[in-house]
């Protein structure tokens, strides 16, 4: 048992009121389990509303899970007090999607990056200044710019500031929630390479959440595919890309534009229909209304996530278990 973090059967519901004032239950995360080994990069991929961001936040206990347990190095986080949780947060950090709204526009860069050190009362002012400069250099920012404000930086540089802020406490787990989605593709490549370089040097584990299959496929070692609050498939990167088992995973791969004009979508089978509302998900397997293989069993009962081949799990009645 050498997992850094184990989440078991996590559920997170939100109550949404409609315009008549009636409450509806939205099951954002519906019984998800995952584990992350030290230094591992786990990718979560799924379309909007599948619960991937809620899962990321629930794992850090930024949202309290409604049920399920989260274990950090063998200790159950549910029993942690506020003080213990605060101390633990040093070890888990987050990088957000939007480098414009996740940085305080009224603070200088050096103060933004130093904030985690101040919160955790880690160092003397001199030591803090030294560490800020060191981490700025490490993420490719010129320390001479430390007195500038976020608006004076480009989108890619701002994302580097966000990474520096996450890195300064030397965390063991970083959750990247769509960390490169707002960036231009040439900048996206720089940031992905930077995350890989830093991981190699510091050895932190990463939970990489994205809607972009190509990005997750490139960076992650293990991939979880989510659809309407549930994990439909999880496997190592090679196993998932070479042999996707769930029809939704296959649909995602098919729909993804290939970088080759001679293999166009017009020649492929693409999945039809919209993603159903998570407020009112279909019965049984959530994917059955869009699935070409669905039959009566799929409409009636939800398939469990089961191990089809070693390390390769799928939640589908048709995956040949």
């Amino acid at each position: 048992m050498n997992s850094l973090l184990i989440a078991q059967n996590i559920r997170k519901n939100f109550t949404i009121k409609d315009n008549q004032g009636r409450a509806h239950l939205l099951k954002a995360v519906d019984g998800v389990s995952l584990d992350i080994a030290p230094g591992e990069i786990v990718g979560i991929v799924g379309e909007s509303g599948c619960g991937k961001s809620t899962l990321g936040r629930t794992i850090l206990r930024l949202y309290e899970p409604d049920s399920g347990t989260i274990t950090w190095k063998g200790k159950n986080l549910n029993s942690f007090s506020r003080e213990e949780m605060k101390a633990l947060r040093k070890a888990m950090q987050m990088i957000f999607q939007d480098p414009f709204s996740s940085l305080n526009p009224r603070k200088k860069v050096k103060n933004i990056i130093a904030q985690p050190l101040l919160v955790h009362k880690a160092d003397s002012p001199e030591e803090t200044a030294r560490r800020v400069e060191a981490v700025m250099k490490e993420v490719g920012l010129n320390p001479a710019y430390k007195r500038r404000y976020p608006h004076q930086f480009s989108g890619g540089q701002r994302q580097r500031i966000g990474i520096a802020r996450a890195l300064i406490l030397e965390p063991e787990l970083i959750v990247c929630d769509e960390a490169v989605s707002a960036l231009d593709v040439s900048i996206q490549a720089q940031i992905l390479n930077l995350i890989l370089d830093l991981r190699e040097k510091h050895g932190f584990a990463t939970l990489f959440i994205s809607h972009d299959l190509a990005v997750v496929e490139f960076i992650a070692e293990r991939i979880l595919v989510m659809y309407l609050g549930r994990i439909v498939e999880k496997a190592s990167k090679t196993s998932l890309t070479e042999n996707p088992l769930h029809p939704y995973t296959r649909a995602l791969f098919e729909a993804f534009p290939s970088a080759n004009p001679s293999r166009r979508l017009s020649k492929k089978h693409i999945v039809m229909g919209d993603v159903p509302s998570p407020l009112n998900p279909p019965s049984g397997c959530h994917f059955h209304p869009r699935c070409p293989l669905a039959d009566e069993k799929c409409r009636q009962s939800s398939p469990p996530l089961s191990e089809v081949s070693p390390g390769h799990w799928a939640a589908c009645w048709k995956s040949g278990v």
């Binding site: 989108g155 593709v185 900048i187 720089q190 390479n193 299959l213 190509a214 490139f218 970088a259 979508l265």
Partner: protein, 335 residues
């Protein structure tokens, strides 16, 4: 050059006056689209691709914007010489536009059906009843399920994919659509919905026989839909070629870099790091007369700083603008 030319842009220069000075958003841009052709205009934020689209439809706010020079010929007549009244007759009938975020380009207080019918009523004489029937027909054409009912829906009652279909239906609400300009039409959509919308656009283009100017930053979308590709960088066109040529034989270092940093590029499969372009896009305010890519280019020569190269041809339909281009790919290396 092209006999059945639908749109021809010649030496277009567009600038904006800002507090910090004059920004030259589009510099000396020439483009052509043939009848029925799909041209993809590709580039990263701030490269001038959307400004070009707005210049064609004359939707650039002036001031602060200014079309400094050049011409935009649509089926032989120069749009830049048209009066505002003449332009209004063209917009929505001969040239239509669809935008990235359908929620902000649809009016939230009118039903989808009423908004499509309005286009018919603005450009031709017909009864309201008739316009509504035609709107429902268009919703059926873009494969919106249950079109009679959906015509009575408001934009917020539709999903993102359906809204974009409604926008496409509106763009088709014309007796004679010649050119559709699609500005990042699938960027806000999920990947399975994006695939549906791209296929729909290709089918409709075939059926209606219109030209399509597709503006995107996504090389995957380009590979899926385009006949020809023009790559822009910091206001300049740097390369223009048929889609297979762009992917197999790029000559401008920026085109090669843009292809290389896509995580889905063949060269990145299983690679420990992505190929990346160092540095970032230069500030348009401070750009001189040289090649704008010079500061990030690994093939830059002293001359690149001095002046922007003139067009060079690599085959009949392939032009690039580079002093020190990449070597051409031989047939063996392509396969």
């Amino acid at each position: 050059m092209i006999s059945n030319e639908l749109l021809k842009i010649d030496a277009l220069c567009v600038s904006f006056n800002t507090q910090r000075g004059k920004v030259r958003a589009v510099r000396n841009l020439s483009l052509g689209i043939a009848e029925g052709e799909t041209l993809a205009l590709v580039g990263e934020s701030g490269c001038g691709k959307s400004v070009t689209a707005h210049a064609i439809t004359r939707l650039i706010p002036m001031p602060p914007g200014l079309i400094e020079s050049g011409s935009i010929h649509f089926r032989g007549s120069n749009l830049l010489s048209f009066s505002e009244k003449q332009m209004r007759a063209i917009r929505g009938s001969r040239i239509s536009m669809i935008f990235q975020e359908p929620m902000t380009s649809l009016n939230p207080v009118f039903t989808i059906g009423a908004q499509i019918a309005e286009v018919f009523l603005a450009h031709s004489k017909m009864s309201k009843q008739n316009a509504h029937t035609k709107a429902v027909e268009l919703l059926k054409l873009v494969k919106i399920p249950d079109p009679e009912k959906r015509a009575k829906s408001y934009p917020h009652q539709l999903s993102g994919g359906m809204r974009q279909r409604a926008m496409i239906a509106m763009a088709l609400a014309s007796p004679n659509p010649g050119l559709m300009i699609a500005d990042e039409p699938t960027t806000a959509l999920d990947v399975t919905i994006q695939a549906q919308v791209l296929r729909l656009l290709a089918e409709l283009k075939e059926r209606v026989g219109m030209g399509l100017l597709l503006i995107t930053h996504d090389m995957g979308v380009v590979a899926e839909t385009a006949d020809r590709v023009a790559v822009m960088y910091a206001g300049r066109k740097v390369e223009d070629a048929p889609v297979e040529e762009i992917f197999t034989n790029p000559r401008h270092p920026y085109t090669l870099g843009l292809l290389g940093c896509q995580p889905s590029a063949p060269a990145n499969r299983g690679a420990p790091r992505l190929t990346s372009i160092g540095g970032s896009v230069p500030d348009l305010l401070t750009l001189g007369e040289g090649c704008p890519f010079e500061n990030r280019c690994n093939r830059a020569l002293p001359v690149c700083r001095e002046n922007f190269p003139s067009a060079a041809a690599a085959g009949s339909a392939h032009t690039y603008y580079c002093h020190n281009p990449e070597a051409p790919q031989t047939e063996e290396r392509r396969s």
